[in-house]
């Protein structure tokens, strides 16, 4: 287990502010945030390449804050892998053993086999693809005996299919070698694909920790919602609170029913949101079925954007000025012909509305 206690670091105008966090051993942890949020700095602090201004780092109860990088046994794979250009593939993989004056060709071969890079062992690194370089950097770290791996944006420079392939590989390797992995990324897709836990780091501050075994992720605050690209964020005032709150949203020009948020007091001003995929389109033939359902909004489709797997619909309520983003799967698009300017009814699922703190 790696524990960060009140880690502070300042670099020019940027600062990491009082980071407290524990990374449980043997799990895949993601630190997710936009570029410039201090993710790489955090990794460099954990690896020992940067010293924090204050705070402590514990590795299984042992204080390693002042340990040199070579004393920590923590592997670090930067964004561009940084393979040694003067060594061939085998030389790179064997580097950790070479440093300890050890030689174990069988172990190198075993790791190379697992990562499917045996055929590359005698190649020069200048002749490798990006994906191959990543596998070799991974093998180099495993051969060096690192049980903790820090990955800095490993998927950022890869196209979609390679990214998926690398994610599968990373997941497999983490399980097989029972590694503790801390991966920092701004790639939401690979974060949710790989992470057992996802920690949001924005502007040098820890915002939210999400256990990815839970099904429905709900952003805790506006910064996280904004980073995740959730557009449906509105201000409102609680009309009646406690067990079944009703909120009045001027931007949508209507009252909304909110479930699963029992602590709202009447009169309180709040900011709430709903993800585009949680907004349901009510087909004209089923309007009667939804007659008693709350949070129905009639309006007009302003714009439709076709995406790879779904449609993004910008919807304007008749009663308000705000735009509501609706996500509609392409597989269902044949059920109803959606066109711009079309009148439509949607529903904001009361149990999917979240309050931002």
């Amino acid at each position: 287990m790696i524990t960060l206690n009140n880690i502070h670091y300042r670099a020019g105008a940027f600062s990491l502010e009082g980071i407290n966090h524990s990374f449980e051993a043997g799990r895949f942890h993601i630190v997710l945030g936009p570029s410039g949020s201090g993710k790489s700095i955090l990794l460099e602090i954990i690896s020992g390449l940067l010293a924090p201004e204050s705070g402590t780092i514990l590795l299984d109860e042992e204080d390693i804050t002042n340990h040199l990088p070579e004393q920590r046994n923590i592997g670090y794979l930067p964004q561009d892998n940084v393979l040694f250009p003067h060594l061939d593939v085998k030389g790179n993989i064997a580097y950790g053993l070479h440093i300890k004056r050890q030689k174990d060709d069988n172990y190198i071969k075993e790791i190379a086999d697992k990562l499917e890079i045996t055929h590359l062992l005698d190649r020069k690194i200048q002749k490798l693809s990006g994906g191959e370089m990543q596998r070799i950097a991974l093998a180099r770290s495993l051969v060096a005996g690192n049980k903790i791996l820090l990955l800095d944006e490993p998927t950022s420079s890869l196209h979609h299919s390679l990214k998926n392939e690398l994610c599968y590989l990373l997941g497999e390797i983490q399980e097989q070698f029972k590694l503790t992995v801390i991966m920092v990324t701004h790639d939401i897709e690979s974060a949710f694909m790989l992470g057992n836990t996802i920690t949001f780091l924005i502007d040098g501050k820890k915002h939210q920790v999400f256990n990815n075994l839970e099904n429905n992720f709900v952003p805790f605050d506006g910064e996280v919602a904004k980073f995740l690209g959730i557009k449906n964020v509105f201000e409102a005032r609680v009309k009646s609170g406690l067990q079944a709150p009703i909120i009045d949203c001027p931007a949508l020009g209507m009252d909304l029913s909110v479930e699963n948020n029992p602590d709202l007091e009447g009169g309180r001003r709040i900011v709430f949101g709903i993800k585009a995929e949680d907004v349901r389109i009510i087909f004209p033939e089923r309007v009667a079925e939804y007659a008693d359902v709350p949070n129905r909004i009639t309006g007009v489709i302003r714009k439709i954007y076709r995406r790879a797997h779904f449609l993004t619909i910008l919807f304007v309520p008749n009663t308000g000025k705000a735009l509501i983003e609706v996500q509609y799967p392409l597989t269902k698009a044949n059920k109803i012909k959606l066109v711009e300017g079309m009148a439509l009814e949607i529903m904001l699922k009361p149990d999917r509305i979240f309050i931002l703190h």
Binding site: S47, G48, L49, L68, P69, E70, R72, N73, I74, G75, Y76, P78, V82, F84, P85, H86, Y95, G96, H98, I99, K100, R140, S141, A144, G145, N146
Partner: protein, 260 residues
């Protein structure tokens, strides 16, 4: 078409400048006498000057490179108090006239500290040790500049990664940075060596020009010219130019094979 014309004009300027040096080298053959060439080349005095120049340059370039490697590394990687002042001081030998540098060495060894050193360790003034010190002071700055440029090209990330793989700072330097800098360091050694071979001002000021004792090739050229022995000077100049062209060719070959 217009671009071709512009590139032609630029090319002409390069050819014109190169022509100046070609004419200067070609003019040596105006006074070339084959018999005298062989005679002077095989004379004890010339062979001694050549041997002395080669040995001193080899030793000086070696010492200079060895001293320059840690200094360049520190200048490239670390920030420390007075770094800019030290950086400027190291550039001084490239700006100040070699004769002035030689005079400064001579003056230092005339002080009581300098005299003490000479009395208790090695005679510097008018000796081979003087040649080595004069050449070292002149080329050390160049060696540091050249090797620092090589160190600047090697990202510190390589060493950082080596350290996360278990290497100490020294091992990371020895197993990663040094091998990556190898070609650049060899190139810097060669340039320092060539510069030392041609060094004149500081050398003659500190070590004098005693034939078969402290007479290096450039000093010998100067002395032969001073006594109006143009044919003799031409032989020595051709030797020194050949050494220069040979060294620069190897330097360029090393430079063309990418360091990283």
């Amino acid at each position: 078409m217009k671009n071709n014309f512009i590139s032609f004009r630029y090319t002409i300027s390069v050819i014109g400048i190169s022509l100046i040096y070609v004419i200067l080298i070609a003019s040596l053959f105006w006074f070339y006498d084959k018999e005298k060439f062989v005679e002077i080349l095989s004379s004890d005095r010339t062979l001694y000057s050549l041997k002395l120049s080669l040995i001193c340059a080899t030793v000086v370039a070696l010492i200079s490179t060895i001293l320059a490697i840690p200094a360049s590394y520190a200048l490239s990687r670390y920030n420390f108090p007075l770094k800019n002042v030290m950086d400027t001081l190291l550039e001084l030998p490239m700006i100040v006239s070699p004769a002035a540098l030689g005079a400064m060495i001579l003056i230092f060894f005339s002080t009581s500290y300098g005299s003490y050193i000479q009395e208790h360790s090695v005679q510097v003034v008018f000796s081979i040790a003087g040649i080595i010190i004069a050449q070292l002071v002149t080329i050390l700055g160049i060696s540091i500049r050249l090797i620092k440029a090589v160190m600047d090209e090697i990202p510190p990330r390589y060493e950082n990664i080596a350290r996360t793989l278990g290497a100490t700072q020294w091992k990371a330097f020895r197993t990663v940075t040094l091998p990556l800098a190898k070609k650049g360091i060899i190139a810097a050694y060669l340039l320092a060596w060539a510069k030392a071979i041609g060094e004149f001002g500081a050398t003659i000021t500190v070590a004098g020009s005693m034939p078969l004792k402290t007479e290096t090739l450039p000093t010998a050229i100067y002395l032969r010219l001073a006594s109006a022995d143009i044919e003799g000077s031409v032989v020595l100049i051709l030797i020194i130019v050949s050494i220069g062209i040979f060294t620069l060719t190897i330097f360029r070959l090393l430079g063309h094979s990418k360091i990283i």
